[in-house]
Symmetry: C2
Subunit: 137 residues, 2 copies
DNA sequence: GTAAGTGCAAATGTTTTGCCAGGTC
DNA sequence: GACCTGGCAAAACATTTGCACTTAC
């Protein structure tokens, strides 16, 4: 695999952000360094980097996000805005269900995603719901 | 919300299949009962049924699948073919990480997906070369 | 030099939406 | 009859791909 400036920039941006960006967000970031990079190139490289295990793909909540951190860990997703943060892996690690309980599937791993409300959305909730609207008598 | 024959058929089909179909698969199933139902209607109703909690939406592996079973349980996904089966919920249930470990998110739940190889794909593996898939946890 | 990689644009696949007719209450 | 809903088709997105040109090695 060639070491192109595009791939280097993509990986570098992904590694130095903790925001788990979408492909398009990453595209915007990399575009500051390489203004004429194309979105297709970003997608192509993300796919390759994922295949060789350099990055991780997070699909959930209808969005695809990318994570430059390959050390095992889980994630929390805000159910309001879709923002994703890291979460520590559970202690002790999970025990896989026996094959006879999962239609004979051989378990090779798992993905655990916590669901939550991020601080920003929690603040908005407090501002939006405090008073019920009273019906005019 | 009105009780239309379309919505009844969609929910009924989803409830009586254990295959966690995609929207299009469900569309094909329902079409046997209501030949001129439209894909848009299937999507609209799945969305509504999910909103009121009658069904569950599973997004992973780049596919969106639907589950008519609302009793809490987890899933196993075949990393080769994307097929999804049910898995029992872990015992004891997971303990949420403390807020300070997840950037202040308030945890409201989790989604656990086991990754595995289904019996069909395992059989094919024995005859062909293994493939790759994205990292587990 | 040459094959992998890029930019661009068109194609693909999935999900959503606007509009009006038709069914439901 | 009022108003949800559905059918249909177009639109909106996200992602992939074909092709000719570049570039890393």
């Amino acid at each position: 695999m060639r070491n192109t400036q595009q791939r280097r920039a993509i990986l570098q941006q992904l590694r130095q952000t903790k925001s788990h960006p979408t492909a398009h967000e990453l595209y915007e970031l990399v575009r500051r360094q390489i203004p004429n990079i194309s979105l297709g190139t970003v997608y192509r490289n993300l796919q390759r980097l994922a295949t060789i295990g350099e990055i991780r793909v997070l699909r959930s909540g209808g969005q695809t996000r990318f994570d430059g951190e390959t050390v095992p860990h889980d994630h929390v997703r805000c159910v309001r805005c879709g923002r994703v943060a890291d979460a520590p892996a559970p202690q002790p690690s999970l025990t896989a269900p026996a094959e006879e309980h999962v239609e004979g599937f051989k378990i090779v791993g798992y993905r655990l995603e916590w669901l939550g409300i991020c601080p920003t959305c929690a603040a908005q909730d407090r501002a939006a719901t405090p008073t019920e609207e009273l019906s005019p008598a």
